[in-house]
C-alpha cells in the first residue's frame, strides 16, 4: 500500500485552543503519514484530539490566534505551517476535502443537489457521473432534488460525491456514518471505500468505533488525550493491541457474542465500591452486588445467592424473575399518526400501527429499530408524554410511582440552573412516597441515590453543565430512580456517550434494575446493547413490531428478513 511519496506527513504536531484565558492542549506531538490510496484510521473517544487532527489537515481551524499549533505538515510534498499558513486557502477544497458526520444538516437546504455539484464538476453530465460513482441509481432525478427530500444515506453519498468531485489527494472523513442507521452505515462505508480507492486519494478516517475502523482502514492510530498511543496496520492493532488504552477500547465494544452475565467494558473499582456502599440498603446485599459488578459471579450464581438470602430473610429477592408473573406495563393495539409537516394536503402520517407490547414485573424489554421505526413514539406513549389515537396503555404501579424516562441527551434533560441535589429533591417531592418524607429524609434519599448511581457526594452541589456526559446521564438516572418507578423507560440513553462510558451506564441500568426490582423498557438502535440489557427484544420497523425474541439468543433467533438484516449489519 505504501508508495514512495506520501500525500500527507505530520511531524510533531501540537495544537492548543485558547479560550477565556485558559489553554487546552488538544493534540500533542503527533506524527503521522498517509500514502496515496491508503486509509488511515484515527480512533479515540471524545477529547482524544482525533477531530482536531482532521481539522488541521483540512485547514479549517481559525487563524485568528484562538488556536496555536507547532510542528510541520506537508501535503503532496508541499510544506505548510499548520493553522496559520495562508496557503491553506488553496489546499482547502482542492488537495483536501471532507465528508462530515451530520448528513442531515451538512447540505444547504435551499439548494438543489445539481446546483451544488455543478459548481465543482462543471456540468450536469459530470455531476450525474459523480453520483453514479457513489452508486446512486437514478442520478438525473436526484440532481433535481433538494436535500430534505432525500434519506440520510443518500445525502451522505452526495457528500462523498461532492468531496471527491474536486479530485483531492486527501479525503478527511469525520465520523461519516455515526449519524446513520446500522443497515445504511455498511452501504455508505462500502461506497466511500470504493469511490476513494477508485479516485486514488488517501483517506483520513476519524471514528470512535473500532468495528467501523476495522472494516475501513489499512492502518490505525489510536489517540488518547491528544497523543497517539498506538499506531500500526489495522489487523495488528485490533488483533494484538499493545497499549492498555487500546485494550480498554476493545473491551468496550458491544458485540452480539458478549457474555450477558457479566458487566461489560472496563470496570472502574471506585465506581464498583460506590455502588456497593449505596446498594447496602437495597434488597441485594452489597458484597454480592460488588462481586457481580466486578465480574466475579456468573449470572446464575448471582441469582442463586440472592434467592437463597431472600428466602432466609423473608424478603423477596429483587432480581430477574425467570418467567413473567405480573405485568408492569402493557400497550394494547396502539396506533398513532402525526400531521405531515409542510402542507396540510398530505394529511396524516401514521407512525404506529396496532402496536402491542407487555413489560412484565421486573422484566427488561428492549425495543430495537432504526430511525423512523416508531420506537421512540412507543416509549413516549408508554410514558404518557404522547396520547395514542387508538389503543390502551396500562401501567401497574408496583413500586407506586408509574414510569420515569431517561433520555438520550441527558444534558438537555436536566434543568441547567438547579444543582443536582435540587434536581433530585424536585423529583422526590413530587412522588407520593417522597412527599411524606421529612426534609432530612429527602436529603438523605438524594444523597443515597447519587451514591447508588456511582457518583461521589460532591456532585450533589454541582450544576449539570459542570458534569461530563456520562455523569449527566447518571444524574438523569438518579432522578428517575430516586423513588423507584415500576418501569424505567430508557430512550437511547447511551447513544451520545463514549463507548467506555456507555458500557458503564449499561452496567448501571442492569444493576439498578436488579437491586431496585424495577422493570425496564429500553429503546435503542443498537442490537448489542439491547441484548445486554433485555430479557426480551422486540424488533420494530415502519411502526410495527415484527418479532419478539429472547435477548440471550438474539443473533440466532431473529427470523424476519428485517431482523436478519439488523443482525448482519451489526456483525459487519
Amino acid at each position: 500500500m505504501t508508495t514512495a511519496s506520501p500525500v500527507l506527513t505530520i511531524d510533531d504536531l501540537t495544537v492548543q485552543y485558547r479560550a477565556r484565558g485558559r489553554t487546552v492542549t488538544a493534540v500533542s506531538d503527533v506524527t503521522l503519514t498517509l500514502a496515496a490510496g491508503e486509509c488511515l484510521g484515527l480512533v479515540g473517544e471524545s477529547g482524544s484530539g482525533k477531530s482536531t487532527i482532521g481539522a488541521v489537515v483540512q485547514g479549517i481551524l481559525p487563524a485568528d490566534g484562538s488556536v496555536t499549533a507547532t510542528g510541520a505538515v506537508a501535503i503532496d510534498g508541499r510544506p505548510l505551517v499548520p493553522v496559520t499558513d495562508p496557503a491553506w486557502r488553496e489546499i482547502r477544497g482542492r488537495a483536501v476535502t471532507t465528508v462530515f458526520q451530520d448528513p442531515m444538516r451538512s447540505l444547504d437546504p435551499t439548494m438543489r443537489i445539481g446546483r451544488m455539484l455543478d459548481r465543482y464538476t462543471g456540468s450536469a453530465d459530470a455531476s450525474a457521473e459523480a453520483l453514479e460513482r457513489v452508486q446512486i441509481r437514478d442520478p438525473r432525478l436526484v440532481l433535481r432534488k433538494y436535500p430534505h427530500q432525500l434519506s440520510g444515506g443518500m445525502r451522505q453519498r452526495i457528500m462523498i460525491a461532492l468531496a471527491l468531485s474536486r479530485k483531492p489527494s486527501i479525503l478527511v472523513a469525520d465520523e461519516p456514518t455515526t449519524a446513520l442507521d446500522v443497515s445504511v452505515q455498511a452501504e455508505v462505508l462500502t461506497v466511500l471505500k470504493e469511490a476513494a480507492s477508485d479516485a486514488g486519494c488517501g483517506v483520513i478516517f476519524v471514528t470512535h468505533d473500532l468495528g467501523v475502523a476495522h472494516h475501513m482502514c489499512d492502518r490505525l492510530a489510536v489517540l488518547q488525550r491528544g497523543r497517539v498511543v498506538e499506531q500500526g496496520p489495522v489487523d495488528e492493532v485490533i488483533g494484538a493491541p499493545t497499549h492498555e488504552y487500546t485494550r480498554r477500547l476493545m473491551a468496550s465494544r458491544l458485540t452480539l457474542d458478549l457474555d450477558r452475565s457479566r458487566p461489560v467494558g472496563p470496570v472502574d473499582d471506585a465506581v464498583v465500591a460506590a455502588m456497593a456502599d449505596a446498594g447496602a440498603e437495597s434488597t441485594v446485599p452489597a458484597d454480592l452486588t460488588r462481586r457481580w459488578d466486578a465480574g466475579e459471579l456468573t449470572w446464575d450464581a448471582f441469582v442463586g445467592e440472592t434467592a437463597a438470602l431472600g428466602a432466609a430473610t423473608g424478603t423477596p429477592p429483587a432480581h430477574l424473575v425467570s418467567h413473567v408473573t405480573r405485568t408492569s406495563l402493557s400497550l394494547n393495539g396502539i396506533s398513532k399518526s402525526y400531521r405531515g409537516h409542510g402542507r396540510g394536503k398530505r394529511g396524516l402520517h401514521q407512525v404506529l400501527h396496532d402496536v402491542s407490547l407487555e413489560v412484565g414485573y421486573r422484566e427488561a424489554v428492549a425495543l430495537v429499530g432504526e430511525s423512523g421505526s416508531g420506537k421512540s413514539t412507543t416509549l413516549k406513549i408508554a410514558a404518557g408524554i404522547e396520547k395514542p389515537d387508538a389503543g390502551t396503555v396500562s401501567r401497574q404501579g408496583v413500586a407506586g410511582e408509574g414510569t420515569q424516562v431517561v433520555f438520550q441527551d441527558a444534558g438537555a434533560s436536566l434543568t441547567p440552573w438547579l444543582t443536582v441535589e435540587q434536581i433530585l429533591l424536585e423529583r422526590i417531592e413530587h412522588t407520593r412516597t417522597g412527599a411524606v418524607l421529612s426534609k432530612e429524609a429527602r436529603l438523605a434519599l438524594a444523597a443515597k441515590t447519587i451514591g447508588l448511581v456511582g457518583l461521589p457526594p460532591e456532585v450533589l452541589a454541582a450544576r449539570p453543565t459542570q458534569l461530563s456526559g456520562g455523569q449527566q446521564q447518571r444524574v438523569a438516572i438518579a432522578r428517575a430512580v430516586a423513588v423507584p418507578p415500576s418501569v424505567l423507560l430508557c430512550d437511547e440513553p447511551t447513544s451520545a456517550l463514549d463507548v467506555s462510558v456507555a458500557c458503564s451506564v449499561l452496567n448501571l441500568i442492569s444493576l439498578l434494575r436488579h437491586s431496585l426490582g424495577i422493570s425496564v423498557l429500553f429503546v435503542t438502535h443498537d442490537l448489542a446493547a439491547a441484548r445486554l440489557i433485555a430479557d426480551r427484544v422486540a424488533v420494530m420497523t415502519a411502526g410495527r413490531i415484527v418479532e419478539t425474541v429472547p435477548g440471550e439468543r438474539l443473533a440466532h433467533d431473529l427470523t424476519t428478513e428485517y431482523g436478519r438484516r439488523l443482525v448482519d449489519a451489526s456483525l459487519a
Binding site: S106, P109, L162, R343
Partner: protein, 331 residues
C-alpha cells in the same frame, strides 16, 4: 407554488371580511354620535333627522354593514363626517402619497438591513461598531430621527427639503406617485426633486425598522454562517464572501421576511408622526385629523385600507417564504 399562492390569497379574502366587520363594529360601539360630529352640536331635531337619513343610519345594522361592504368593494368608502367629502375622493391623492413614502421607507429599511447584516457577518472590528449603531438607532423614535434630519440636512446644511412632496406643481394626469410621474413625463429633474423630498421622511420612517430587520437578519446570518452546510462550503474551499452570498443570505432570509411584515405593520404608526413633521399630505395626516375630529367614518375607511395593505403584504411574505425555502413549498 401556484396552488400555494392561490390558497394564501383565498385566506386573505376571509381575513379582510373579518377586518371590515371589526372596523364597522368599532364605529357602532363608540359613544360619540356620528350625526353630531357631522352637523354640529347646535343643529335642530329636523336637521338631525335629515342627516341620519343621509348617512344611512336609519337602516337596520345588517343593511348598513352590507352597504358599507358593497360600497367599499366599489371604491365608495362613505362620507367623511369632518370634511363632508366622499372619503374615497379625500384619499385619492393621500393614499398614493403614503404608499410612495412607505415603499421608499421599506426599501431603505431592507437595503440598510442587508448592508448592516452582511458587514456584521463578515466580522472584524466594524462588526462591533455596527452593533453599537444597531442599539442606538433602534432606540431612537421616528419623530426624533425626523427632527434631527430636518435640523441637520435642511436647516444647517440646506441639502434636502423638509416639507411637502415636490417643489413644482402636480401633473394633471398624475399617478399620485411623483417619482413615477417624473419618469413617465421624461423629466428627470421632477423625479429627482420628488426623490429629494422623499429622502428625509423615508429615512426617518425606515431607520428603526431597518435596524430591527438587520438584527434579525444578522442573527440568521450568524446561525447560517456557523451551520454545518457553511462548514461544508468552507471545506470545499469557498471564500467567506461566496458562502455568505451563495448560502448565507438565502438561509437567513426566512425570519427576516417575517420580521419585514411585522415592521411594515408597525410603520403605519410611525408614518402618522413622520407625515406631520414633513407636512406630507398622506393617510397619516388624514387619520390624525379624523381621530381629532371623532370622524368614525374616516377612521373606519383608513383602518380598512391599512388593514388590507397589511394583510396582502403578509400573504406576499408567506409566498416569498415558500419561494425561498423549498421545505415550506414541498413539505
Amino acid at each position: 407554488m401556484l396552488s400555494f399562492t392561490l390558497r394564501r390569497l383565498a385566506s386573505v379574502v376571509g381575513v379582510v371580511l373579518f377586518l371590515a366587520l371589526a372596523v364597522f363594529a368599532l364605529g357602532k360601539v363608540g359613544n360619540a354620535d356620528p350625526v353630531r360630529t357631522y352637523i354640529g352640536a347646535n343643529a335642530s331635531a329636523e336637521q338631525v333627522e335629515q342627516a341620519r337619513a343621509e348617512l344611512g343610519l336609519d337602516d337596520p345594522l345588517l343593511t348598513q354593514f352590507w352597504n358599507f361592504l358593497t360600497g367599499a368593494v366599489q371604491g365608495d368608502l362613505g362620507i367623511s363626517l369632518s370634511t363632508k367629502h366622499a372619503i374615497a375622493d379625500d384619499l385619492s391623492t393621500r393614499l398614493p402619497a403614503t404608499l410612495e413614502l412607505a415603499g421608499w421607507a421599506l426599501g431603505f429599511a431592507v437595503i440598510l438591513a442587508v448592508v448592516l447584516a452582511a458587514v456584521a457577518a463578515l466580522g472584524g472590528k466594524v462588526a462591533a461598531v455596527l452593533r453599537f449603531v444597531f442599539f442606538s438607532a433602534a432606540s431612537a423614535p421616528a419623530f426624533l430621527v425626523a427632527m434631527l434630519g430636518v435640523l441637520v440636512f435642511y436647516q444647517a446644511w440646506g441639502l434636502l427639503p423638509a416639507s411637502g412632496r415636490t417643489s413644482y406643481g402636480v401633473y394633471d394626469d398624475s399617478t399620485g406617485f411623483y417619482v413615477i410621474d417624473g419618469l413617465l413625463h421624461a423629466s428627470p429633474l421632477y423625479a429627482a426633486d420628488a426623490i429629494g423630498h422623499l429622502i428625509l421622511p423615508a429615512v426617518a420612517a425606515g431607520l428603526a425598522p431597518g435596524v430591527a430587520l438587520a438584527r434579525v437578519l444578522s442573527d440568521g446570518l450568524g446561525a447560517s454562517m456557523s451551520s454545518p452546510f457553511a462548514r461544508t462550503a468552507r471545506a470545499m474551499g469557498e471564500s467567506e464572501t461566496t458562502i455568505l452570498r451563495r448560502h448565507g443570505l438565502r438561509n437567513a432570509s426566512s425570519p427576516a421576511l417575517s420580521m419585514l411584515a411585522v415592521q411594515a405593520g408597525l410603520m403605519v404608526s410611525s408614518l402618522v408622526v413622520v407625515e406631520q413633521v414633513f407636512a406630507w399630505n398622506g393617510l397619516g395626516t388624514y387619520l390624525a385629523n379624523a381621530i381629532a375630529a371623532g370622524d368614525f367614518n374616516a377612521i373606519a375607511a383608513v383602518s380598512l385600507i391599512l388593514g388590507v395593505v397589511y394583510v396582502v403584504l403578509n400573504a406576499l411574505v408567506e409566498v416569498a417564504l415558500a419561494a425561498v425555502d423549498p421545505r415550506v413549498r414541498l413539505g
